[in-house]
Symmetry: C2
Subunit: 113 residues, 2 copies
């Protein structure tokens, strides 16, 4: 939202007026770090450099939820096919995640305060 | 997803085949509980009783993310207008949240493992 302060906008994605897209990534981690933390930071940095990236919000307690925002489906498709990201996805399935779900959704409306 | 085990499905929403809707609620809390924890539990219980409710996923670190899933926009509208929920929304703006954002999105595709 355009009225967010700087401190908020580091936690809240500063998305434009809808429509745009959200990728909702819900995950259960395996035990131990095993390189996960470093990869997670790297993937957010890399995602932020991609065409169509709008922002990301993330939190983990029992379950982890990361929502990344994108301008269009083509940008999401290209990010999914990014070489470094493909490696991370594979290692994720092999080592870091017990399970995960990805949901691709078109944001039709937003509001806040 | 239909292949989730019982333990996973308590953390992951057991949503049907798309399309369905997601309400992505991102928030920054004020300091102190001030009745928030009790209300949060009550609102999830109440949401789960509403027509069209499909599930909910939630995590909080610096930022809180709660994603609730619904069969259609009309169910989301009715939940927003629920009397008990309206009270919670008002108290939320007055006391519990420093700020929040709500995004309503149509889930077009999902996958997982």
């Amino acid at each position: 939202m355009s009225n967010l302060t700087d401190s908020k906008s580091s936690l809240f994605a500063n998305t434009p007026k809808p429509p745009y897209y959200a990728v909702i990534f819900t995950s259960l981690r395996t035990q131990g770090d095993d390189g996960y933390g470093e990869m997670a930071v790297k993937m957010v940095e890399l995602a932020a450099q991609q065409s169509g990236f709008l922002g990301v919000e993330s939190a983990r307690e029992e379950v982890g939820i990361t929502v990344s925002y994108w301008s269009d489906l083509e940008s999401i498709k290209q990010w999914k096919a990014n070489t470094e990201h493909l490696k991370a996805q594979r290692t994720g399935r092999e080592r870091w995640y017990d399970s995960y779900q990805v949901r691709i959704a078109k944001v039709e409306r937003d509001y806040g305060f």
